[in-house]
């Protein structure tokens, strides 16, 4: 029997024992951590790098998101970093030499109230000023983009229009993480799995290394990149972050023929939908209200999300929920990320992407690598410094981020 089984496919990365010291340690082997490691090596020639992951690579939020990619945020600061990410997405398959199933099928953000319409139109104009492609569509035009969309005025929350970003879309999340991991590994980065950081050593205000479940590891620079667990890690360095960790749920249907040609999001009725290449409908909800690290949420959130989806897409009535799950998202008070330096020398922070970190993966990695390499914020990351919560220079993206980030 063993003779007829195929060989294991080639491993995409080594599984090395951690060395005792590295120039840069990245804590968190998700999409952002792997992208950061890759760009450290590729853009800055820093290859003495290890990524420490407490579980297996790409098993956290990068495995649990709904893969939506867009850059149509309101403020120029956000448009800058998300548009940088989108431009990187557009060349990423060639850059990594790995298929990512990146599909620019467009993103619709629906408006259901007069205030939604005003905000949507304002965002379209703001996007154009920031160099982001954006259009305002009336309901009929929105239905031309997405023929299964119900634009009946009889709906409880009728579709009054939509913003449309044609360059938005989706990608295969696992492939994204694996592509970055494979490329980083090939450049010499050590990807160390099952290695949980249990303490951070600081002497005279400088990070000297970490304690882990696989021993002590020294570091010249330490870069935290742990999304929902950022508060737990930062506390090891004596930092309190303006972050609350919440469950965020998503689900998929059984495999269906192609019916959903684009990505449709609605903040007002709390649902966002796309159809994966394989055929399942992928839907996300809003966060569960309470703080939670359990990677699960309440069914009532799913029920509300399904009710909204069914009203917008009556054709979904015959679909079945195949599975639901949750990730732990790191939510900030202004719905924008925290990326930059910290009060501790040589300790860097990338977190707070909340419900929308996947789309930022290459842009966050690009800017974070620059910040670590030069010990100063990348220009696109500078507005997202931790100290904005004392200066008051918030980047308020609740309108563009909201539930459907």
């Amino acid at each position: 029997m063993t003779e007829v089984l195929p060989e294991h496919p080639d491993f995409l990365w080594r599984n090395p024992e951690p060395r005792r010291r590295y120039q840069v340690l990245i804590v968190g082997g998700g999409g952002h951590g792997l992208a950061t490691a890759y760009y450290l090596a590729r853009n800055h020639g820093i290859t003495d790098v290890a990524v420490l992951e407490r579980g297996w690579l790409a098993g956290g939020n990068v495995a649990r998101n709904t893969t939506v990619i867009r850059s149509n945020y309101l403020w120029p600061e956000s448009a800058g970093i998300y548009e940088q990410a989108l431009k990187l997405w557009e060349g990423l398959e060639q850059d990594l030499g790995y298929p990512l199933l990146f599909s620019q099928r467009g993103v619709l953000n629906l408006a259901h109230t007069p205030q939604d319409v005003r905000e949507g139109v304002r965002r379209v104009y703001a996007n154009r000023l920031s160099g982001v492609d954006a259009e305002w569509l009336d309901p009929v035009q929105a239905k031309q983009v997405c023929p299964i969309l119900n634009i009946s005025p009889e709906l409880r929350y009728p579709v009054l229009g939509a913003t449309y970003q044609p360059r938005g879309g989706i990608a295969k999340h696992d492939h994204v993480a694996w592509g970055f991991a494979r490329a980083a590994d090939a450049l010499g980065v050590d990807l160390v799995q099952h290695c949980e950081v249990t303490g951070i050593d600081i002497h005279s205000g400088r990070v000297t290394g970490v304690r882990t479940t696989r021993g002590e590891i020294g570091a010249e620079k330490l870069a935290l990149c742990a999304a929902g667990h950022s508060s737990v890690l930062a506390a090891m360095a004596g930092l309190r972050l303006p972050i609350q960790s919440h469950p965020l749920q998503a689900l998929v249907s059984d495999l269906l023929e192609p019916v959903q040609p684009t990505v449709v999001m609605s903040n007002t009725v709390h649902v966002y939908v796309s159809q994966a290449h394989k055929g399942e409908l992928v839907m996300g909800a809003g966060i569960d209200s309470y703080n939670g690290y359990g990677q699960r949420g309440g069914l009532h959130v799913i029920e509300r999300q399904m009710a909204a989806a069914l009203e917008l897409f009556p054709v979904f009535a015959r679909a079945h929920v195949l599975r639901t799950w949750a990730g732990t998202v790191d939510v900030t008070p202004d719905a924008s990320a925290i990326l930059g330096l910290t009060p501790v020398a040589n300790l860097y922070l990338n977190c707070g992407w909340g419900t929308g970190g996947f789309k930022a993966t290459p842009g966050a990695g690009w800017c974070y690598a620059h910040t670590i390499a030069h010990d100063e914020p990348h220009p696109l990351a500078a507005p997202f410094a931790l100290d904005r919560f004392s200066t008051g220079a918030l980047v308020d993206e609740h309108g563009a981020a909201a539930v459907a980030h």
Partner: protein, 86 residues
């Protein structure tokens, strides 16, 4: 869905409640005397533990009163429920 025991109404589904975040966060006694950092910490920074967490819930669909819960944020086990004004 969580099952939370209101101190006045008894055990009810989570959907009857509104979440209020961390408990025992007093308003600063002299807000005008705070530095920007201190004021920022009061406005924006709350505990975010993985484990027991003292938090506020309001029974919005019932008696509409606030109370305090200590809940484990990893397991969702409710460890203690008490009445209290903050």
């Amino acid at each position: 869905m969580l099952l939370i025991e209101c101190p006045w109404c008894g055990p009810r589904d989570e959907t009857e409640y509104h979440y209020g975040g961390q408990a025992h966060v007093p308003y600063p006694e002299e807000p005008a005397g705070l530095t920007d950092e201190e004021w920022g910490r009061y406005l924006f920074v709350r505990e975010n533990p993985k484990g027991p967490f003292a938090e506020r819930w309001c029974h919005t669909a019932g008696c509409r009163r606030w109370f305090n819960v200590v809940r484990d944020t990893l397991t969702n086990e409710i460890l203690r429920i008490s009445t209290g004004s903050t």
